[in-house]
């Protein structure tokens, strides 16, 4: 399957980066990277969060001006920091966050900035619609170009972005995490589109975390680690283990740490909590040191349940008690006072204040403990936050660094670590490893298991099946904002457990080996 390239030298490259260096706020992100992309090849750019993948792409597409080094497109020097010049030379980027304008239609999005006009100078909508239909069909998209783009699934919008880039003559296509937001079924379509582009001689560079996607789409894999290019190999010459080792810089032993036992004392008790109108009441308990997994399909109500427990959302009825004391519904402050901590699913939108420093973010939830008569005691918070962040192995340029300059994995460490300057009895985790790469992931797993071993009651919602199977003492499978079934540790270790969970989550079959809703206390 790998496409053979005759004489892949830097001279024949479509895109050639040499000696790229870049740092943000004094933190070096790229330390001299050389990369060449050959025509008609697909290159996977692998690396952990913070390795510098997105930065490299933004430099190659002219969005950032590198501190040193140069970018050449088909031999021509790319004027530094000019997106317009990059577009002119045929370099297009499809960013991680979609750039389409949701209120406009598909064809308007495709033609915005280079509209087809009538001789009178007005918009020639018919011609645009005709051309849009044709180019969409070229990519195997059978959609009406007059629908609003916001109404389409993310995966389709992503492909439309690719259509837009290539129909403007892009010969080098950079895809930043193209699969992070789309469903598995849509990944296949994307791979097809990429293969199609390769045949047309386009050079494609994409970033991903997932090994299957590297295998399905790439000819060649390039690994960045700590701002350096560690590996550059044809896909046929490297094993999966080789790629992972190159990414994290050490052998990947066990991704999941061993799970210890747990205590008997009940910490968190949820009674008859009705999360959404018409949903069944939810009741369960979590003991000291126990990790309770929440499994289920997207939209099953896992996040909503966690939000109701913590008080970001008000339940319709029911109570939450922590160590025997009831929490006030809809009051995060009451949960915090009872030593409940949360790591929300949406790190940037709900977890961190990006414009503030690591120190200020970490001060916020424990602000009372770090201040006297309302005045913050600087030394106290510095030593407490510094100690926690050091124990979490946070990679930052000091505690004063702004959150927005940290990688996703490091942001997550701050969002979790900020609670640990004080007592935490109940820890609520919502998709704790979303957008976190393999290396940081195993670190976060270790932290979670350690925290449970210290006596916290942990509730962990996760879409990642191995997480639930390996990290939970017990799991609830949710469906329609209620609990569809409960699986014990021994049931989680059963060989057919994935099937059981799937059937419970989708409601296909009620006759499961376990009896749902069995009392736990």
């Amino acid at each position: 399957m790998p496409h053979t390239v005759v004489e892949a030298t830097p001279e024949t490259a479509m895109l050639l980066c040499t000696g790229i260096e870049m740092s943000f706020g004094g933190v070096p992100v790229l330390k001299g990277v050389d990369l060449h992309l050959q025509p008609g090849t697909v290159t996977a750019l692998a690396g952990e969060n913070g390795a510098g993948k997105s930065t490299l792409m933004k430099i190659a597409s002219g969005q950032y001006r590198p501190d040193a080094g140069e970018v050449r497109v088909r031999g021509e020097l790319l004027p530094t920091g000019s997106t317009k010049a990059a577009t002119g030379l045929g370099v297009a980027i499809v960013p991680q966050e979609l750039a389409s304008i949701p209120e406009l239609t598909v064809y308007e999005n495709l033609f915005v900035g280079r509209e087809i006009r009538t001789p009178l100078g007005t918009l020639n909508r018919l011609a645009m619609i005709r051309q849009a239909t044709a180019s969409l069909q070229d990519f195997g998209l059978d959609i009406d170009p007059t629908v609003q783009i916001g109404s389409l699934p993310v995966g389709v919008r992503q492909i439309i972005e690719i259509v837009k880039a290539t129909s403007r003559g892009a010969r080098v296509l950079l895809l930043d995490e193209p699969t992070s937001a789309i469903a598995e079924r849509e990944v296949g379509h994307l791979a097809e589109v990429v293969r199609n582009l390769r045949q047309q001689g386009v050079s494609v560079l994409f970033t991903t975390h997932k090994m299957e996607e590297i295998r399905a789409m790439a000819d060649r894999v390039v690994v960045l680690r700590d701002g350096r290019l560690i590996t550059d190999a044809a896909l046929s010459e490297i094993t999966d283990d080789g790629i992972v080792t190159a990414m994290i810089g050490r052998e990947l032993e066990n991704l999941f740490p061993d799970l210890g036992g747990h205590g008997d004392e009940i910490v968190l008790r949820v009674e008859d909590l009705v999360v959404a109108p018409g949903a069944d009441p939810v009741s369960f308990t979590v003991r000291r040191g126990e990790i309770l997994g929440l499994a289920g399909l997207v939209g099953a109500g896992r996040s909503e349940l966690i939000e109701c427990i913590y008080g970001i959302r008000k339940p319709l009825s029911g109570t939450v008690t922590v160590s025997g004391k009831p929490l006030k519904p809809g009051r995060p402050g009451s949960a915090i006072a009872q030593h409940v901590a949360i790591v929300p699913e949406d790190r940037k939108g709900a977890g961190a204040v990006l414009a503030m420093s690591v120190l200020d973010n970490a001060t916020l939830p424990r602000i009372a403990a770090f201040s006297r008569f309302g005045v913050i005691t600087e030394r106290k918070r510095r030593s407490a936050v510094g100690a926690v962040m050091a124990s979490m192995r946070l990679k930052s340029n000091g505690l004063g660094q702004h959150m927005e300059n940290l990688s996703g994995g490091n942001q997550q460490k701050v969002v979790l670590g900020r609670w640990l300057t004080g007592t935490v009895d109940t820890l609520l985790l919502d998709e704790p490893t979303r957008g976190v790469d393999v290396g940081a992931r195993s670190e976060i797993y270790r932290i979670i298991v350690d925290l449970a071993a210290q006596g916290m009651a942990v509730v962990m919602a996760s879409s990642d099946m191995p997480e639930i199977l390996s990290l939970a003492h017990r799991a609830l499978v949710m469906r329609g904002f209620g609990v569809a079934g409960e699986l014990s540790r021994s049931q989680l270790a059963a060989p057919d457990v994935q099937d059981t969970i799937f059937r419970l989550a989708s409601g296909l079959d009620a006759s499961t080996p376990s009896s749902p809703q069995e009392p736990t206390a």
Binding site: G26, P332, G349, A350, V353, D360, G374, G386, A387, S396
Partner: protein, 330 residues
């Protein structure tokens, strides 16, 4: 913690001194702009660089300083307070009315002005934080409403013939440092401390930077929002008292358009209208910049219409330079 400290030191060591000074200049670009403007006026006018004139600038700056401080807090939460100019008028009229009716004791006008400012601020705060009306609209309403009330209090006319004690608030002081100047200096220092060193300050930044994340971290964001409008109203009330006390008259058109100068000062000071970014020191510099330009142009006998033209250009140019510098230092 030792590892993070080591990181900081190593990256700073590698930087060269020249670029360090360059960085410093870029980061404090407004101070550079300020010095250039001061140098220009000092060169063109013999009177500009006298101690007397510096004091004149401070006296003129004081009422603006108070509302600009309030405005800074509001803008840090991502809001805006358009009503401060009118609240100045309403509280000045309330103060003058109380002096007219309750006699010589200067404490009555103070209470009346503070009360009027607090009420206006509280209404703004409630409408924004409880009813979720966008701050622009809520305070636009208050702008019109408070201006109307100012005219209602005086039956459409200024309140004259006030007792001479009414002038005490603006005109007494020690050696030229009148009450407004002292109040301005104290307020700037106090708010700089509050925003940098207190739990309240951190909460204001957090709510402005990301309201949901702040709430999840236990911040009662509604309370924070309410408080910034209340503070802005209170400071506008005091500002109204100072302004009307200076001329010992209550004028219903006092403070008209002042909100725009206050917003300009905050923005020149580097604050983001989206919230979460900005400092009290920045606002203080922005304020002094505007007041210095006003004063310098007066001394050069530039006609007032042209002054507005020049001021408008300088405001946009200053912020443009700041945006450029922020981009460069990134």
């Amino acid at each position: 913690m030792s590892t993070t400290n080591a990181d900081v030191v190593s990256t700073q060591d590698t930087r060269r001194w020249t670029s360090l000074i360059g960085d410093l200049l870029v980061r404090h670009i407004m101070i550079v702009v300020m010095l250039l403007i001061v140098a220009f006026f000092a060169y063109r006018s013999a009177r500009f660089a006298t101690a007397d004139n510096m004091l004149t600038i401070l006296i003129a700056a004081a009422p603006f300083a108070l509302i600009a401080l309030g405005q800074t807090l509001v803008i840090l939460t991502g809001g805006i307070d358009l009503s401060v100019g009118s609240v100045i008028a309403a509280s000045a009229m309330a103060a003058a009315w109380s002096a007219k009716h309750f006699g010589d004791n200067p404490i009555f006008p103070l209470l009346a002005a503070v009360l009027a400012g607090l009420v206006a601020g509280a209404v703004n705060g409630l409408v924004v934080s409880r009813l979720n009306v966008p701050p622009f609209i809520a305070t636009l309403g208050m702008l019109t409403l408070a201006s109307g009330i100012a005219y209602v209090i005086g039956n459409g006319a200024p309140i004259n013939g006030l007792p001479s004690t009414y002038g005490m608030w603006a005109n007494s002081g020690i050696g030229g440092f009148t009450i407004p100047v002292v109040l301005m200096i104290v307020a700037i220092l106090a708010f700089a401390f509050i925003m940098r060193r207190t739990a309240y300050g951190l909460r204001v930044y957090a709510v402005g930077g990301n309201r949901l994340a702040a709430e999840i971290a236990g911040v009662r964001s509604r309370g924070v929002l309410f408080s910034v409008y209340l503070i802005s109203g209170l400071l506008a009330g005091l500002s109204g008292l100072m302004l009307s006390s200076r001329v010992i008259t209550g004028a219903p058109n006092l403070g008209q358009g002042y909100e725009l100068d206050a917003i300009a000062a905050v923005v020149i000071g580097g604050a983001s209208l989206m919230g979460g970014r900005g400092t009290i020191w920045g606002t203080a510099i922005g304020l002094l910049l505007i007041q210095t330009i006003n004063n310098g142009l007066d001394l050069l006998l530039v006609p007032s219409y042209w002054q507005n033209v020049i001021k408008g250009v300088i405001i946009v140019a200053a912020v443009t330079v700041d945006v450029w510098a922020a981009k460069r230092s990134k």
